[in-house]
């Protein structure tokens, strides 16, 4: 039964728009799926103690590189998105390599990568002639609104299925890493790098692999977000606050469980929506404030996150009975 459950849930999710497709809820669900994918991408490495605050940078690279290639060269996102993912992976290697060589780990790793987020934001803002700066950027729309070549779609159902597939793909990647030998190596590295190399692990190579993977996935999320919203601004897809949001959501949901970041996305996005609808523009920025408080509370009282703690409880109950 528990083997079948993911398939049943998956089929139900795929069928959802046939049964229920009112635009606003569907829009929120698409947004949740895209961010769930981004948070899951962050957790692919975050769960091994590689707490990056540089992922805002990768998100920005993904969103902007693809959009810039489209607007300036008419390059289809089918090529632009992979290029943007490559660019993010390259950037990730550029920063992770010296970090690994000089053994910058833990808090220091978070700080160094945080600088990357800030730099990407600065670059986007400073090159306003090309990127539109802090006013944001819009990919050129194709006449008619929908085009597979331009990866632009006007109907929410199509976007729902795209986002669902990408989210599912993200979960699959994380699940795959978790059951591979790579997990053993990364778990060992997070505990004791020297002991890991005594087992033959090439510590730097393993770290670079997972960082590049996580960055490329995050860039895909950024590009997808841009194609869906048809508008990006440096504050939403880059910078430290975007990175912090990934950490908030993942920690709240639970980084050690597959669906933790997804649950984190549901909670944080619903919270932002409720604040927005309830308080309007007066509440702008409140969500970040609330996240901040939540993060501190969670790290102290529920370090396993909501899903992680629930699962531990359930397991405990099962063992107890």
């Amino acid at each position: 039964m528990s083997k079948l459950l993911p398939w049943i849930a998956g089929a139900a999710l795929v069928a959802l728009p046939f049964i229920y497709n009112s635009p606003y809820p569907l829009h929120i669900i698409v947004i949740i799926l895209i961010w769930s994918f981004v948070y899951t991408s962050w957790s692919v490495m975050g769960r091994f103690g590689l707490v990056s605050l540089g992922h805002g940078g990768f998100l920005g690279v993904g969103a902007y590189v693809n959009a810039l290639l489209w607007n300036n060269f008419g390059l289809t996102p089918w090529i632009g998105i992979p290029l943007a993912m490559l660019a993010a992976a390259g950037l990730a290697v550029l920063i992770a390599y010296p970090c690994s060589r000089f053994r910058i780990t833990g808090h220091y790793f978070a700080l160094v990568t945080m600088a990357l987020s800030a730099i990407v934001l600065q670059v986007i803002t400073a090159t306003r002639d090309v990127t539109g700066g802090s006013l944001g950027y819009t990919p050129q729309r194709v006449p008619g609104g929908s085009s597979l070549f331009a990866f632009q779609f006007t109907d929410k159902e199509t976007w729902y299925w795209i986002a669902l597939a990408i989210w599912g793909g993200g979960l699959f990647v994380r699940w795959y890493v978790d059951r591979s030998m790579m997990r053993y190596a990364l778990e060992a590295i997070s505990e004791d790098e020297d002991a890991a190399s005594a087992a033959g692990v090439h510590v730097t190579a393993e770290k670079l692999k997972i960082t590049a993977l996580s960055a490329a996935m995050t860039a895909l999320g950024g590009a997808l977000y841009c194609q869906y919203q048809m508008f990006i601004s440096p504050d939403t897809v880059s910078g430290i606050s975007a990175s912090l949001q990934m950490v908030f959501a993942s920690v709240v949901g639970g980084i050690y469980v597959l669906l933790g970041p997804t649950v984190g996305a549901v909670i944080t996005i619903m919270l932002a929506e409720v604040l927005r609808i309830g308080f309007g523009t007066a509440a702008v920025g409140w969500d970040n404030f609330v996240y901040g408080i939540l993060l501190v509370l969670f790290i102290i009282y529920l370090p396993q996150g909501i899903v992680g703690s629930l699962m531990a409880k359930l397991r405990g109950a099962r063992v107890g009975s």
């Binding site: 030998m181 053993y184 890991a196 190399s197 005594a198 087992a199």
Partner: protein
């Protein structure tokens, strides 16, 4: 198989290993002894790439190791344990050993790695249960795990650092027997650092003695135990008992 020449390690102004040269032959068990702080672990750390030597060369099967990264040396056929066991507590016992089986050699498959892990666990006498956590192990168990990790990398030369401290008489005998089997069954050459002379002298073919980072003696157990310098700096009042043991072995 291993040829070390003029090995020196300085930490700042302090010389921890001073101009040490020695050879190890294929299939041999070499005992490495000396007082605390005499440089035994430092030599192991240089042989396995964890400390770059200040000077000197380390030739292993014709290849120079000085300057190579630890993972490359491990993959190249040297296995090491740590004096104080360093298990991965977030992994199970089996996963600890399987990790070494997978990454300890190039181009391993998962199936092959699991096979090596099972072999190593069986040899040291740890359970093959995939889910047994490290936290259940006592001092003796952790030392066995340390050894199993090193064996799973399928080394040709094993550097075993003080594997017996904190064990009782029976556990020590078992461990000594284990090293003998490792050589006999797997054909692995061993350098063994050990403070417990009684056990060491029963197992090793040759002994090298360090004091303050310098090699002061080298030879058969019976020769070493009768060397006045070794008696003076290391064996002390135990000399007579250890001599008897070495002699009994012939």
């Amino acid at each position: 198989m291993l040829e070390v020449n003029g090995l020196i390690k300085r930490f700042g102004g302090f010389t921890s290993v001073n101009n040490v040269s020695f050879k190890v032959d294929q299939g041999e068990i070499l005992g490495l002894i000396g007082p605390n702080g005499s440089g035994k672990s430092t030599i192991f750390n240089m042989l396995s790439g964890f400390f770059p030597p200040t000077a000197g060369s380390i030739r292993f099967q014709g290849r120079e190791l000085a300057g190579m990264a630890p993972y490359a040396i491990i993959q190249g056929g040297i296995g090491r344990t740590f004096q104080i066991p360093r298990p991965f507590r977030r992994l199970t016992i089996f996963e600890n050993v399987a990790l070494a089986g997978y990454y300890g050699q190039e181009g391993r498959t998962r199936a092959k790695a699991f096979e090596s892990a099972e072999k190593a666990l069986t040899l040291v006498g740890l359970p093959l249960d995939r889910h047994a956590p490290v936290d259940g192990l006592g001092a003796a168990g952790l030392k066995k795990l340390e050894l199993a990790k090193a064996l799973a990398t399928e080394p040709k030369l094993l550097l075993a650092d003080e594997s017996l401290g904190g064990l009782d008489e029976h556990e020590m005998d078992q461990a000594a027997d284990m090293l003998n089997r490792i050589r006999a069954e797997l054909g692995i050459t061993i350098i063994w650092v050990e403070h417990i002379m009684g056990v060491l002298m029963r197992v090793v073919d040759r002994v090298m003695v360090l004091d303050h980072g310098e090699k002061i003696s080298e030879g058969l157990p019976s020769e070493i135990t009768n060397d006045p310098r070794v008696v003076e700096v290391y064996l002390g009042s135990d000399a007579v008992a250890v001599q008897a043991m070495a002699a009994a072995r012939g």
